[in-house]
């Protein structure tokens, strides 16, 4: 499957502000991701004054963050701090929640994904998601991984086989399941099921992988496998991970954002956040003096 362009997200070729096709000469000559940097890393996702409301409750307050490309960014904070809401806003998963409203911008490669005319299905192909609880379909391992490519119109059996093998290899699961691709994914262990879900997300060639507590329900060995996998995946993908496990955030991420009461309190390199954070609130939270 060919690599996706951000412009594929547009159902109608629209400009982020006006809803019209940006003229070729008006588009940045150099992709934004190559211009903006954070600690020397190009930026893949930028949020600007991002707020999310659930009815009258504001879950996210004016969050401005630059998420570097091909790196792991961890989002930490106590329950209800807005980190999952933030994650879900990066591929418009909040759209499906009744009464949810989003203000501000989320720019992926410089394009506002909340602009009119954005194809949300294409957006979610570009920015795949892995959830806390592994949720394989009650289908075979093969069909789980082939689901996305089929949805995007690929029917050729040999192409699908190739895609499935590639995705399972990227998810570090191929060796464990290659002889039983026809068996139900539900027969696998929890850790294997989670890697099926990661393979499913990777099978459609995303550029961004969003992970919401991907290892919280797993035993230490499966957790270690997922963490090693994340470390491998960041060579090719921009990864954003929500985790309650601070040691995990410290182990797997390059950048960390600390959220509290819907606001981004501090964002920086993981080394900085976990050794010498600037804000006392961050210090108190990560040393367990908070609450």
């Amino acid at each position: 499957m060919r690599t996706m362009s951000v412009l594929d997200m547009f159902e109608f070729k629209t400009d982020e502000e006006t809803g019209t096709l940006p003229r070729k000469e008006a588009r940045p000559k150099t992709p934004l991701s190559q211009i903006e940097t954070h600690e020397g890393q190009p930026i893949k996702i930028m949020t600007r004054n991002l707020s999310v409301f659930y009815g009258i409750n504001q879950a996210l307050i004016n969050v401005t963050m630059d998420i570097p490309q091909k790196a792991v960014t961890a989002l930490i904070g106590p329950s209800g701090c807005g980190k999952s809401t933030f994650l879900r806003s990066l591929n418009r998963m909040n759209d499906s929640i009744l009464g949810a409203r989003t203000d501000g911008k989320v720019l992926i490669d410089g394009i506002n994904i909340y602009a009119p005319g954005i194809n949300v299905v294409a957006l979610r192909r570009l920015a795949g998601m892995v959830f806390q609880k592994s949720n394989p379909f009650p289908k075979s391992i093969f069909d789980n991984v082939a689901y996305g490519p089929r949805l995007h119109g690929i029917q050729n059996a040999s192409v699908l086989e190739e895609l499935v093998e590639e995705a399972l290899k990227k998810a570090a699961l191929w060796e464990e399941v290659k002889d039983r691709l026809g068996r139900s994914a539900l027969e696998l262990s929890g850790g294997q099921q989670q890697r099926v879900c990661i393979a499913r997300a990777l099978a459609v060639n995303p550029e961004i992988v969003l992970m919401d507590e991907p290892a919280s329900a797993l035993d230490p060995i499966s957790t270690a496998k997922i963490e090693e996998l994340i470390h491998e995946l960041k060579k090719n993908y921009t990864i954003v991970i929500v985790t309650h496990n601070m040691q995990q955030a410290a182990r797997v991420s390059d950048f960390t954002g600390y959220f509290y009461l819907g606001s981004l309190v501090e964002f920086g390199t993981t080394k900085k956040i976990f050794t010498t954070p600037d804000k006392k609130e961050t210090e108190d939270y990560i040393t367990g003096r908070f609450g």
Binding site: M246, Q247, A250, I273, F274, T275, T276, P277, T282, E283, I286, T287, G288, R289, F290, G291
Partner: protein
Amino acid sequence: MKRHFHDELKALKQKLLSMSFLVESALEKAVEAFLGRNEKLILEIFDEEETINQFEIEIDDQGHALLAVGQPMAFDLRSLTAILKINTDLERLGDHAVNIAERARTLLREPPLPEDYDLPKMARATLHLFRQAIDSFMNDDADSARNVLLSDDEVDLYNDNLFKRITTAMQKDPSLVKTGVNLMMIGHNLERTADLATNIAEDVIYMKQGKEVRHRIET
């Protein structure tokens, strides 16, 4: 929220404080033994050094266990690494006390000094620096630690003067060579003691503020 980890960290800090009392006592005795030509004190220092070494091993052991089990972050991490580094510094300071005591024992067999070459003043300044460094650590006081860094030059100056004056004295009267060399070594050990006190102060500043000030780098 109270955490079991913080109780253990506090206990380890207290243990380091106990170790620092022993080191302080050994350094004081070493200076006193030399100035007062007191052999009994010299023997006490050798005994105390063994206890200091034992402390070093226990603190290292408990510190590593806390690192593994508590997986500390931020201030907790900086505090624990400071404890481990200061632990090593204190053990070295105990060695310097022993070195001074050994020189003092050699000097017992030589005639009394014709003059003190400001060694008592140098010793007082050095011990003051050491106490201030330990106090800044116990009180998490970066300002006090910065004062230690500023005062280190005073001890260096005493040592430079000591070196010059003894060299001149030995040139004039070669019979003073043995005494002179031993006095220089005592001066050198005091100067190293002051250096280690500044290392402790630098660790305190990093622990408290996350700022790197070693080698005159300020981050």
